[in-house]
Symmetry: D2
Subunit: 214 residues, 4 copies
């Protein structure tokens, strides 16, 4: 169904191919218990393949020297006063995003290393209210490769921000997901038309291997 949207938008001059640049980094969005564990209000059992593909890509990125960044979300109670907290009711639900809790800690299978920054982001985009742009600029990154969840929320918002900043943005098709497969498919199309190239994991891995850092 959403294929109609793609055709219409391509005909209107959206959806150009951005391509890869010269220095890529990988950002892994919100791969923590709060989203991966079905017992969490906003958790989903369906994201295991997303985690698996992310881990697979991280192995390549580490071997080839590409910078890696992780995000999570975590809030003190005083941080969510106002309309933001009224829209996002799950922020206060059963402590699923409490700062310092194990719900917001990264999945240990990601094996984050000390030199891979963890960005605690207060909004959907990894850039909003964080110094992420300076991390990328300070490392001369021109290409941002995105994995994680959710496609319709934090992945899309991060892709939009990175596109705004004029980075080459690549979303790894098999390594992003959503608690709703429909929302996933629809938003992946919008992302591809507006903000980022949606590319298969093999092509991304090949790029990383062919373009090691240093």
């Amino acid at each position: 169904m959403y294929e109609e949207v793609r055709e219409l938008y391509l005909g209107s001059g959206f959806g150009g191919r951005v391509g890869f640049g010269k220095r890529a980094a990988v950002v892994v969005i919100d791969m923590a218990k709060s989203w991966l564990d079905p017992s969490s209000p906003q958790g989903s059992a369906d994201l295991e393949p997303v985690l698996d593909h992310t881990i697979q890509l991280l192995q390549v990125a580490r071997m080839t020297g590409h910078p890696i960044f992780f995000t999570t979300m975590a809030f003190e109670k005083a941080d969510v006063q106002g309309p933001y907290g009224r829209k996002m009711l799950h922020l206060g639900a059963r402590g699923s995003l409490d700062a310092g809790s194990d719900m917001v800690a990264l999945d240990p299978r990601l094996e984050r290393r000390a030199e891979e920054p963890l960005i605690v982001k207060p909004r959907a985009s990894a850039f909003w209210g964080t110094p992420f742009d300076s991390y990328l600029v300070g490392r001369s990154i021109d290409t941002l490769i995105i994995t994680g969840c959710s496609t319709s929320g934090c992945v899309r918002a991060t892709a939009e921000s990175a596109h705004n900043l004029n980075l080459n943005v690549v979303v790894v098709r098999e390594a992003v997901g959503d608690r709703s497969p429909i929302a996933h498919n629809v938003n992946l199309t919008d992302i591809d038309l507006r903000y980022a190239d949606v590319v298969g994991i093999d092509e991304v891995s090949n790029y990383l291997e062919a373009n090691p850092i240093q």
Copy 2:
């Protein structure tokens, strides 16, 4: 179909009602020839009702003293170098977004007044790369009412930014639109679940009349 997504997300703690605050402003997104005229690459004939409903709402907002803001997009050739321009091919297509051209001028039926700022935005969101946040803060606005196009692009992005800033965000159902009705419906649901209350024009008009500025 997308109703499934709504149900799943509501059950996960998204989609709370934000409500109206005490001082509202209206922003009209990209109601210029480049989007309204079907002869433009990204134009659509279907947005006339969006324009009509926007004009109807502006009449109420002006009578009740609410600040009004307009946006358009316009580029010099040197402004679009890099990945951004490669994704958005229509930026360079047949001059449809050239700075100073009549394609990017607001539709005259909006009758913009001198005290209603026009924001020339370089990206989808009215906030990105513009001083829009300072216009709202300087007027003590706590509620942003959004009309215009496109739902899947600039409307959604503006709603997200305003939500990030912790404003009460309201998207006027009949006064936003998209060149694709499917993209419109899907994104309107995402917006309502994540960033803004999607509210009918009668309810919005009633609020403005009941809460005049000064």
Copy 3:
């Protein structure tokens, strides 16, 4: 000497009085051991009066219901890669800004309460790379009262950011300081001419008492 600068700038149309608005908040900049303890690389023994005056103002602000925010700076090693870390050599000096250390914890005499957010800022301005703007907007704040250190660095940068956002900005003369009295005086003049009203603590206290929140 710097009085010449004031005269010249006043004659050029700078230095207008901003005044107080209707809803004020207080932000206390970097009142932690790393700046207050002379044994820290960037510490100074001269800031005790700044702390005393800040505590005095906090007592008034708490009695009158005004929101209070605190900042500190703290870094993981991976966070400071690039030019930023090369300019700010003290970031890595003797652990004086290490995340989680007691050097970056607020002075206990401030008696921060749970509802008073602590913002861990990565740069001089309390706004840069943080969600501080959304904290203020979500509380409908139109006036930001600044105390803390250093006048020539984080105080000035925060005043500039708040001014950019179109807030009424007030810097409390007796409650800001610098490791250098000369840098303090010079920058206080620049702040007053360009970004904020520099106001004595008695006048600020009187305003808070006369304009309680709720």
Copy 4:
């Protein structure tokens, strides 16, 4: 006198040398009639040498293929509502910053070319409320060389923003100035200690010649 400040700050771990990176761009701040013409409220006759040195540096930058950006400030009346306009009284003074007037046009001796973007900035920093960061990222710039005026305002604010973004920032000593020589000297020291390397024009020219773009 301000040499004392330098010594104290150097001893506290400020003022590290950032150095030049691999791809530099030049930004020329506010070299328009409104600042160069003594008949303007904020104009000064003393900035001719700053303009001369800027032109000299532009000649080198153009020969060596480095991207060049210009800024100016210009306002519609509706744009300056709120505290910002109350502090900056000269914004409304005798039309010295009116959008579209010849007061805000760049000095013709700069000979700006079509491929050199002009950024109309609403605040002191070239980055605030503008897409300047995306212009630099889209061109893979890691070093920003700053000329223009005023040292205590727009030059300092731009240097701070660029430093925040983790660029290598260089301020060209002979090519920046201020209506007050005292404010110039003091702020140049602060800039050098906190945000940017202050470097002589010969060294900057030599760098540009030794590191042409492509």
